[in-house]
Subunit: 217 residues, 2 copies
Amino acid sequence: MRYAVLGTGEVGRTLGGKLVELGHEVSLGSRTKDNPAAAEWADNTGPGAGHGTFAEAAAFGEVVVNAVGGQVAVTALKAAGVENLTGKVVLDVSNPLAFEDGQVRLSPVESDSVGEQIQRAFPQARVVKSLNTVNCHLMVDPALVPGEHQIFVSGDDQSAKEQVTALLGEFGWPPHRVLDLGGIRTARAAEMYLPLWLTLFQHIGHPEFNVEVRRAH
Amino acid sequence: MRYAVLGTGEVGRTLGGKLVELGHEVSLGSRTKDNPAAAEWADNTGPGAGHGTFAEAAAFGEVVVNAVGGQVAVTALKAAGVENLTGKVVLDVSNPLAFEDGQVRLSPVESDSVGEQIQRAFPQARVVKSLNTVNCHLMVDPALVPGEHQIFVSGDDQSAKEQVTALLGEFGWPPHRVLDLGGIRTARAAEMYLPLWLTLFQHIGHPEFNVEVRRAH
């Protein structure tokens, strides 16, 4: 398949690299056409890896992955162009991290989420929130952490969630470890988990961890 | 030991009942002296179980457990009286649940927490946040759910956290499953987990679940 991965940070490059490794074609999108990180990534990743502006990448992709920060997600997707998103699955892996006075904050928080912001801004896109609850290396290699830990999906479009679930399967998350939280509104819950993730990160000392939901029955 | 458990709802009665079962003496505190739920609980629970006003209960307890809702926690503790809290461990198990227009909200959220509100209001109390991430039946019987799922503690006073960890051990949480998140500020993270808990509750269909933090190493 053809994927647009928007964002040239570690998350975007890691997701893009794994997608190419899986045999997909990827265009890594950024604000400018000549982004050095994107060019270097494409060169090092080899056949199947390209790059371009947000709009070029999104036009290329059959699926669009938002891997820019939550604060700039809607801006980046607007630059990608509504016409390049319409009808497509938009997988949002971002968190609403804001840095204020040396503190990490969430914005939006509780009464809204980045997932919902994107869905509202692009009603014809099929937005799915997922993968934001784990580090990017774990996103594409869940076996790094032992156990039956899970990954969440949120979205209003059931078939889009099924498509993302299939992609998660390619990454190594079998269907029984993909937990469907409900509509895109539940992205709030997944995004509000972030402070606990950050606190656990400090406690554990590295980002290779995840939670396994255990239940009585 | 002598415990004050403030709050006559299901959480308070369940915690109080378990404490009595463990051989402790409990005074279940409420706003009024003649609270029928508290009287019935004391009658049914038998020797070791008493009840009284917030102030009477707090005066009785060597440890004070806040089991009233997060919205009214500081008010209840003010009624309990600063003189009855000074120097004592105050175990806060509440969540900042607010009900608005048929929606569940958190208040405070993100920039504050109930745990911190209590610690600020009673600087001489030794506040520990814990148990708010699981249903009350699981609080006192973690074996209801299989696996090495964990419980969190937050607090500024290390010896208070050790005392709470010992109590958690009596409830069935061994020390290696008690995860110290850090100072009372980390109560924010534990309280912000609640929307995910509520979403998982809807998904799973019952409240007997918890998360196990799995790590690479």
